[in-house]
């Protein structure tokens, strides 16, 4: 008798609703717990990753501070806010690093660009891209040293009209079979340097103005 009642109850809409609701509630609880438990370690891992990328574009000799701890946000030419990491030595901004985005063959190419206070490129590294393996991925430092060609260059060197790939009359090599990818990177870097030049004063304003006390301990 009770099995019959149970089987009747199981057929009803109430049971179905309870079952679905219960499952979802349980899943949601688990996910909330897991999210809270892993949020901090994940943020830490991502900070380590970012730091590792930043160390590649800003030589450690140029800064005494934790690059992740001293940042400011500036709006670039298109109005999008850009997070700028600043390298400090003796209270002065010696270099900055920020992310620029180029349009590649298969989507956006994210590049981290390090610029010295005098406007020279310290280094650039591709953070992520969706370019064709074997053709466009030579922009990665792991695959090719093409990206090193930008080190030491600035907006005037080479002159603005030569900031392009050779096919466009510029100074930079394209890859055989892939022109769009390096063109996207070159344009992104040029845009980044122009952004820096336009806002140079804001980029290198001494951080001491923002916080009282010693500028080197601005871990806000």
């Amino acid at each position: 008798m009770s099995t019959l009642a149970w089987s009747n109850f199981r057929q009803g809409i109430g049971y179905q609703g309870l079952l679905l609701g219960g499952t979802v509630a349980l899943a949601a609880t688990l996910l909330v717990v897991a999210d809270r438990a892993t949020r901090e370690p994940i943020a830490q891992r991502q900070a380590e990753d970012m730091n590792a990328s930043l160390e590649q574009v800003i030589p450690s000799a140029l800064h005494e501070n934790d690059l992740l701890a001293n940042t400011l946000t500036l709006n670039d030419a298109s109005g999008t806010p850009t997070l700028v990491y600043r390298a400090l030595a003796e209270g002065q901004v010696t270099a900055v690093a920020f992310q620029v985005t180029g349009n590649g063959y298969a989507g956006e190419i994210a590049v981290i660009l390090g610029v010295a206070a005098d406007g020279k490129v310290l280094g650039a590294r591709v953070l992520s891209h969706k370019e064709t393996p074997g053709l466009g991925d030579k922009i990665e430092i792991a695959k090719d040293d093409w990206i090193l060609a930008f080190d030491g260059l600035s907006l005037g060197n080479p002159p603005a009209e030569r900031w392009g790939v050779k096919k466009d009359g510029g100074d930079f090599d394209q890859f055989s079979g892939a022109t769009i990818t390096p063109r996207g990177v070159v344009r992104a870097l040029k845009g980044g340097l122009e952004f820096f030049a336009a806002h140079r004063d804001e980029f290198i304003a001494p951080p001491a103005l923002q916080t009282s006390g010693t500028p080197l301990t601005t871990d806000n």
């Binding site: 057929q11 179905q16 079952l19 897991a34 999210d35 892993t38 891992r45 064709t132 074997g134």
Partner: protein, 233 residues
């Protein structure tokens, strides 16, 4: 337990193992999970990583689905299974990101893809929801390993033809101790891009599918001859 049921269970477990690894293989026989199969097998290492992550999810999801099989009614089973699988995959994703970050950097893109791997829902629906926990666990493990084997073979073939290496980047996935796996089979190879791009995946998979057909047909033919010989003798 009597020896008869032991023997029966043994036969059943053998059948589950054979089904998962070969005769009912996820890719070769069920033609499921083709999207991840084609998408991630540019290298053998990627195939291995995706295969192992999928195996882990498949094993746990089969166990969970089997545990709740008497509670779940047929009318709402699909949403319940999907919620269970999606939760599981998200937990794996968060856990790997937090505690095995290097591995997550290699596999991160693929892990979210496991949710839409129809093989997992397929096994929940076709096997785990009708069988006891122990069989469901074995089925999940064997189906997962069969899937992993195909991904590694497919990735290996495409990698050798496409870039002349095998297991490139294996140390990122398995740790520095396994770096001896990374082989350069063809030095100064200029690469054969087609094999690495999606069409190469379709071509290689086609050859694999055809290969299984040939092997199965030969085995069936041998069996037929054997039984014919027995009858005439």
């Amino acid at each position: 337990m009597t020896t008869a049921t032991d023997k029966k269970a043994g036969i059943q477990w053998g059948r589950i193992t054979r089904d998962g690894l070969w005769s009912n293989n996820v890719v070769l026989s069920q033609s499921l999970a083709l999207c991840p199969t084609l998408a991630v097998t540019g290298t053998a290492t990627n195939g291995l990583g995706m295969g192992l992550a999928t195996t882990a999810v498949l094993l746990v999801s089969n166990v969970l689905i089997s545990l709740i099989r008497d509670l779940v009614t047929p009318e709402v089973r699909i949403p319940v299974y999907i919620v269970v699988i999606a939760t599981l995959v998200t937990l794996v994703d968060l856990g790997l990101n937090a505690y095995a970050h290097e591995l997550h950097k290699v596999l991160g893109l693929f892990i979210a893809l496991i949710v839409v791997n129809c093989a997992i829902l397929g096994r929940a629906e076709a096997f785990a929801s009708k069988n006891p926990v122990s069989s469901a666990a074995l089925d999940g493990l064997m189906m997962g390993l069969g899937f992993t084997a195909i991904l590694v073979v497919l990735g290996g073939v495409r990698e050798i033809v496409g870039s002349g290496t095998l297991f490139a980047g294996a140390s990122l996935l398995l740790g520095q101790a396994m770096s001896f796996l990374e082989l350069t089979l063809i030095p100064d190879y200029r690469g054969f891009l087609l094999a690495i791009l999606p069409p190469g995946g379709f071509l290689a998979l086609g050859f694999l599918l055809a290969g299984k057909r040939v092997i199965d047909a030969r085995a069936a033919e041998a069996k037929r001859r054997e039984s014919l010989a027995l009858k005439t003798a």
